[in-house]
């Protein structure tokens, strides 16, 4: 038995995911953007764990493990890019990425 009804988990995941989406849209700081993405991934993780429990299937938990790996890899690449941006622009304001347009 789940501690609370399934839908609670799902809605919580939905809220966290949406917050992540919202954060990506409104954050000016690239670091915050990256963290918002982490929020989205974690929302998905929550879903995976919940569903693993619901289905009694370990696949979901294994998937969380892979998501962690991916998150780490993405963080590595993302932070490298962040550093590169900072080196070029002296700032990590995402709005300063404005040379290319049209």
């Amino acid at each position: 038995m789940l501690p609370v009804p399934l839908s609670y988990y799902l809605v919580l995941a939905g809220i966290l995911f949406t917050l992540g989406v919202f954060g990506v849209i409104i954050a000016r700081n690239v670091i915050v953007t990256l963290m918002s993405v982490e929020l989205m991934l974690n929302a998905a993780n929550l879903l995976l764990v919940v569903f693993a429990r619901v289905h009694g299937d370990l696949g979901g938990q294994v998937m969380v493990f892979f998501v962690l790996t991916v998150a780490a890899a993405e963080a590595a690449v993302g932070l490298s890019i962040l550093v590169a941006i900072f080196r070029r622009k002296g700032s990590i304001d995402v709005d300063r990425l404005n040379i290319l347009k049209g």
């Binding site: 799902l10 995941a13 995911f17 992540g20 989406v21 990506v24 690239v30 953007t33 990256l34 993405v37 989205m40 991934l41 929302a43 998905a44 993780n45 879903l47 995976l48 919940v50 569903f51 619901v54 289905h55 299937d57 696949g59 979901g60 294994v62 998937m63 892979f66 998501v67 790996t69 991916v70 890899a73 993405e74 690449v77 993302g78 490298s80 890019i81 962040l82 590169a84 941006i85 080196r87 070029r88 622009k89 995402v94 990425l97 404005n98 040379i99 290319l100 347009k101 049209g102």
Partner: protein, 475 residues
């Protein structure tokens, strides 16, 4: 443990390791692109040798069937041509952008692409997508001296990470609805009813969106023009075809088998509709060739999605055929741009003004690719559109096909503007000068791309048959 199923990927991985070793040994003074090309070729040979085999492996995680092999070949075609382009762009300097790391990344990315088409499990797909994407981000931003490249890489990465969030969320929802990540299990779990589970549909849509991002379907396309414009041209040549082929292959597998009973057509229909509109119309105002081709690519995604929307084996095979041609002509076009850029430092329309008089062969090649992208016979572009639209009509998508041809007509304007610039504008100071340095590599790429573009246009029968035979296995 069926290694036969992943033999080509093993070869590519070996290649990537080999290149890293070679880089250390040669101190970055040798042009290693040829080696990368060789490994891609070897992987291709491996694919051809086991083309008709169905190899299931690793607890059903991968399935190497004819479908996968077809798309592998398309990916290799795009990758091979892009590799040669990058090889030609090598400037002979140690620590070149197009050094060993570049080609290692390229090969790694190609492994990721392969995984998308051989993967039979959403986990493999997710990891494959990341293996595909991370190198691309680095390749886009690879030249960290350039503001444009860094910006392109950053935008690509941020959007990519954002999209992978959606993809993962979708995977989680699908998992929740079905209790499995395996394609077959997902497909079977709802065989009873059309979509008892709203979660499944929502998850399917989110997965689709994740890949629409990858192929730059509108409205998930915002990154594409900027990345194409900012990234180094040989890199863009790689972006233009191979990842799209992989993503489309996966979408095909999903839409035709796993999600066959989900009513996803509406979503695909609208993305296709919007992509053709936005891609073709926005392209009208572009003066930068790379940005122009980015929008053109968006439009072509729209055409491909027409076939996806048609949702049938014939349509699938026509998509496969279309992508073969598209790989040749789009990489070819970028190769010309790379050559022009190498000589003239710019990629605007002005930089090809009067190119026809300075370098008629290259100019003719670019014209050919432009005509092919427009869809004028006897080129692959026409044969591909013909096959796609024909199949779409079979499925009754008359409105979408008419929309597609209307905007194909619009596209004539901007493609021909390039040809106009090449042959009919007076030469400017920006026009690439007659330097032929390093043109040997380009000559190979252009000749190959041109031959394929023409061959697929003039005698498409065997390729259509190949595509059709491969796609039969999907169902």
């Amino acid at each position: 443990m069926n290694f036969a199923a992943i033999m080509p990927e093993i070869i590519l991985t070996a290649g990537l390791l080999f290149l890293m070793v070679m880089d250390v040994m040669t101190d970055g003074r040798r042009n290693l692109g040829w080696y990368a090309a060789l490994f891609i070729l070897a992987a291709g040979v491996a694919v051809v040798m086991q083309f008709d085999h169905i190899e299931l492996g690793f607890s059903g995680m991968v399935m190497s069937d004819r479908f996968a092999n077809l798309f592998r070949l398309i990916i290799y075609l795009g990758g091979f041509l892009a590799t040669l382009t990058a090889t030609a762009a090598w400037d002979g300097e140690a620590k070149s952008v197009f050094g060993a790391e570049f080609f290692s990344l390229l090969l790694a990315s190609m492994v990721g692409m392969d995984l998308l088409v051989i993967g039979a499990n959403l986990i493999v797909i997710f990891i494959g997508l990341e293996i595909l994407s991370l190198p691309l981000y680095a390749m886009a931003a690879g030249q960290t001296q350039s503001d444009e490249a860094v910006e392109a890489g950053a935008k690509y990465f941020l959007t990519g990470a954002f999209a992978s969030g959606f993809l993962l969320f979708g995977i989680a929802l699908v998992y929740g609805a079905t209790g499995s990540f395996a394609f077959e299990a997902i497909g079977n779990s709802y065989a009873a009813g059309p979509f008892s589970e709203p979660l499944l549909l929502a998850g399917g849509v989110l997965i689709l969106i994740g890949f629409f991002f990858k192929i730059a379907g509108v409205p998930f396309h915002a990154w594409a023009p900027d990345v194409y414009a900012g990234a180094p041209t040989p890199t863009v040549a790689f972006f233009a075809a191979a990842p799209k082929a992989a993503a489309v292959g996966l979408l095909l597998r999903l839409v035709l088998t796993t999600f066959a009973d989900l009513p996803l057509q509406t979503i695909i229909w609208w993305v296709s509709w919007l992509s053709m509109f936005v891609g073709n119309v926005w392209a009208l105002r572009q003066r930068d060739l790379k940005r122009l081709l980015a929008y053109s690519g968006i439009a072509h995604v729209g055409y491909v999605l027409v076939g996806l929307c048609a949702n049938g084996p014939g349509a699938a095979s026509s998509i496969g055929f279309y992508l073969m041609g598209y790989a040749a002509m789009s990489v070819g076009a970028f190769a010309v741009i790379a050559a022009v850029e190498k000589a003239g430092k710019a990629t605007t329309l002005d930089s090809v003004a009067g190119l026809g008089r300075r370098r008629p062969a290259i100019a003719a090649a670019l014209s050919l690719f432009m005509f092919a992208l427009t869809g004028i016979p006897p080129t692959a572009g026409f044969a591909g559109k013909f096959a796609l639209f024909s199949e779409a009509l079979k499925s009754g998508l008359l409105g979408l096909v008419i929309w597609a041809v209307l905007f194909s007509a619009v596209s004539v304007y901007y493609y021909l503007r390039v040809v106009v610039a090449i042959w009919m504008w007076p030469e400017t100071g920006e026009t690439a000068n007659a330097s032929r340095a390093g043109s040997g590599g380009y000559a190979v790429v252009l000749a190959l791309a041109a031959i394929i573009t023409l061959l697929l246009g003039i005698y498409p029968q065997p390729f259509l048959a190949l595509a059709a035979d491969s796609l039969v296995w999907l169902l």
